[in-house]
């Protein structure tokens, strides 16, 4: 970056490398289970994933299918045949001294993913997505990586299938990376090939360069990017983390440039707890991984897999369909398609009850209350029928909207109780018509002054009378209905 830029407006150019653990039953090259979350270290291992001498990899085609489905969702090219290469480097978590990955025939190439930030639509280019094996994991005892007394190695994770998604340098702000990652997770979940709950299921490296904003008008020139020093930020594990880490980097780099300093070409580590990036090492010469093709895995013919493999309706398509089919606003449709669980749940309710009511209850009431409690729809797993029952109570007019929202829903979320129990305990059952009618007549009889005021044209008097009726019914009557009944009686 030339110092002349210091006087210009600066803009960020960002590209991402996203590692996603694919949700398969078994590892990518052996039959070991990938579900090792609570397992003792090194119990989900075999000669192959331990890299024992003589053991051989056998490709789990389920992982390839998951990647082809992703490729389809990203509108990517799938090659005729796909091959694996060895990436050679030494590290204690790497059992064979090389990682099996893909090099010149990745399973996906040239895709894109559309994201929206505020009201702007952006198409983010996907350079490639390739399959590889996860290494094991290290636990440093008595210090950090440099100061630990010793380090323990767990190979339970080794061989978990990963797909590494590499984007074009198409992002212009940290917000866009966050929107992209959220959208990517959504797509992965829709495809059923990803479990966001799994520890380490999403790992992001970001490359960021600051360039003159003038250079960014239109397409970015490769020469401009080559000129700008690039910082790689590692150890990002969420879309929120990506936004925070990159916002930090934008500020740090802008400050440096404005003070006339050069931004070093280096790798930095995102320290989430401190909210800063720290320098890891200067990026000297490009590392030489001595890639070459893995002879133990014959090339896999995948030319017809794209046609053969079905993928479900994706969030964008589903959002459009919701708008048309249920006549929903853009905002409501977006909220209702934010995750597959929410969308499925909405459709289940909308099939039985008024779609408007279903939309209000799912998009506004439920998601709003969940969000307030930092909960997700997945936290309600197994209780969807209770929520459906709540909507039914409202739809059948058995309780008021207000009580449903403020008492029953909150009780369900906070106390874990069922809607019927709450309605009974709080005596929320709507008062029957006769009781309301009686209360209306009593209110008129007991308040001749207010009746006179109403007859003289004082509209405020009716509100007073409604209040009286509500008091008599303990708040369980419907105010609108009471208003109507009062007018009927008075106007006679």
């Amino acid at each position: 970056m030339s110092t002349q830029a210091a006087t210009e407006d600066l803009a960020a150019v960002i590209g991402l490398e996203v590692h996603v653990q694919l949700e398969t039953d078994t590892k990518i090259f052996c039959g070991c289970s990938t579900d090792a979350a609570d397992a003792e270290p090194n119990t989900h291992t075999c000669p192959t994933c331990l890299g024992l001498p003589g053991a051989l990899p056998v490709l789990n085609e389920g992982a390839v299918e998951a990647a082809v489905r992703l490729g389809k969702a990203l509108h990517a090219d799938i090659p005729e045949r796909t091959t694996f290469h060895r990436k050679n480097y030494f590290y204690p978590d790497l059992p064979k001294g090389f990682q099996l990955t893909q090099y010149d025939a990745p399973i996906c190439q040239d895709g894109e993913l559309e994201v929206r930030v505020e009201d702007r639509r952006r198409d983010i280019g996907i350079t490639r997505a390739h399959l590889e094996e996860d290494p094991g994991s290290l636990q440093h005892v008595g210090g950090s990586i440099d100061t630990a007394d010793y380090t323990k190695v767990d190979y339970n994770r080794a061989g978990t299938p990963l797909v590494e998604i590499v984007t074009e340098p198409d992002f212009r702000s940290p917000d866009e990376t966050r929107a992209f990652l959220a959208k990517l997770e959504e797509v992965l979940e829709y495809l059923g090939i990803y479990d966001a709950e799994r520890d380490g299921s999403l790992r992001v490296d970001a490359n960021i360069s600051m360039v003159s904003a003038d250079d960014l008008a239109g397409e970015v020139d490769d020469a401009v990017l080559a000129e700008a020093n690039r910082t790689e930020v590692k150890n990002i594990s969420s879309h929120k983390g990506a936004q925070q880490a990159l916002a930090y980097e934008v500020t740090r780099q802008r400050n440096a440039i404005q003070r006339g300093r050069e931004v070093e070409q280096e790798t930095r580590h995102w320290d989430e707890s401190r909210g800063i990036t720290v320098s890891m090492r200067s990026k000297e010469a490009e590392k030489d991984y001595r890639y070459f093709e893995e002879a133990d895995l014959p090339p896999l013919e995948v030319s017809d897999w794209k046609e053969r493999l079905e993928i479900p309706e994706l969030p964008d398509a589903r959002r459009e369909r919701f708008r048309e089919e249920y006549d929903l606003s853009e905002e409501a449709a977006s909220k209702l398609t934010s995750t597959k669980e929410v969308a499925d749940f909405f459709e289940e309710i909308a099939r039985e009850y008024d779609p408007d009511l279903a939309a209000t209850w799912v998009a506004d009431n439920l998601l709003g209350e969940l969000n307030y409690r930092d909960m997700a729809v997945t936290d309600l797993e197994g209780r969807f029928d209770e929520f459906t029952r709540l909507v039914e109570l409202v739809a059948e007019d058995e309780i008021t909207e207000k009580n449903a929202r403020e008492v029953v829903l909150r009780g369900m979320l906070d106390e874990g109780e069922t809607p019927d129990d709450i309605v009974e305990a709080e005596d929320l059952g709507k008062t029957s018509g006769d009781e309301v009618q009686a209360a209306v007549e009593a209110a008129i009889a007991e308040n001749p002054d207010a009746v006179a005021d109403y007859e003289d044209g004082d509209e405020g008097a009716i509100n007073f009378l409604v209040g009286q009726v509500m008091q008599k019914t303990g708040g369980s009557a419907d105010p609108g209905q009471v208003n109507g009944l009062l007018r009927e009686e008075l106007d006679e």
Binding site: L52, G54, L56, R86, F90, G97, E286, A295
Partner: protein, 425 residues
Amino acid sequence: MADAHNAFVTEETIEGADSGPLAGATVAVKDNISTEGVRTTCGSEMLAEYVPPYDATVVSRLTDAGATIVGKTNMDEFGMGTTTETSAFGATTNPVDEERVPGGSSGGSAAAVAAGDADYALGSDTGGSVRCPAAFCGVVGIKPTYGLVSRYGLVAYANSLEQIGPLAPTVEGAAELLDVIAGPDEHDATTRDAGAGSDYAAAANGDVDGLTVGVPTELVEGADDEVRAVFEDALDAYRDAGAEIEEVSLPSVEYGVAAYYVIAMSEASSNLARFDGVRYGESGGFEGNWNESFAETRAENLGDEVKRRILLGTYALSAGYHDKYYKQAQEARAWVRQDFEGAFEDVDVLATPTMPVLPPKLGESVDDPLQMYLMDANTVPVNLANLPAISVPAGESSEGLPVGLQLVGPTFGEETIIDAAALLG
């Protein structure tokens, strides 16, 4: 059983099933083939204490077939050698002449069979490592088509080139052993359906009437005079039995040795990277950072020839040299394959001397790596082309040293070469 020739690294009996085609037979297994519970050293200090927790597929197949495994045989360290002198457990001597090497790298396996210490043996052949010791020790050895025999459990040296193969006193015996170990394996994705339900032993008839035998001039010209004389006599035997002998040319084999060593060393540099002292093998101690600790482990526990090949292979794959060496070697390999394919349009089998030289004396060749590599000129092209080949004793030199005839067949043409070789043994 006294091991007079240092043929075994570990003498330990693994009993097989009570019945089966190999019931009652004894088999010696090369020490780079994993045996559950019995150490598998690859002839290396690095794995001196390594005991695999699993059996190689071929080992299960042997014991299922009733064979009794009598021990693990000596070998050049990680298969890297042509004489069995690079073993960390001392050199094996040739039972025919104890001053001479048995060939390598499966020298222990060939010596065990030649000395009668086992009825059969398994070796592995990356560039001639079954055929060379078979020829030097006067026994039969087969290098199967790539993908015929499972490599699961074979400690890799150069995984795109190697196959496990049988050694036996006779062609029929080697074919019997091949019948037991051949065929697809779900643990090795490079195996093919070929070999399932095979009966190679039944093909060992020596029926060569009408067979066309091609002789690649390039692979005969360089041989020693004595080797050549025995080879020519063998060809006469084929002529007499009704075969037609035809000269063919394989111009690509000139690059065979160079291409083979670049590819084998490149793959070896990666295959042997796992020996870092973390999971098994000798640890170098934990002073310094990981890289220093790994380096110490490897410097101390790997022999000179292994280190030479790892360094050269690393170099050949490095950025800036990859295209010049590794990629070039791959192109040469494709050419060699094409040359053989072309030859098999005209002939049924190809015949060459297995080794261009007689077995050297101990210590004679090990100090001159280049000379040692050139001894492999006739065997390595077969591995580059993934083809099957057999070495069968063809006669003796004036001093009584064995000379082997190599017959090479087309892909999965094991029956043809076994039938033809049976004429001599």
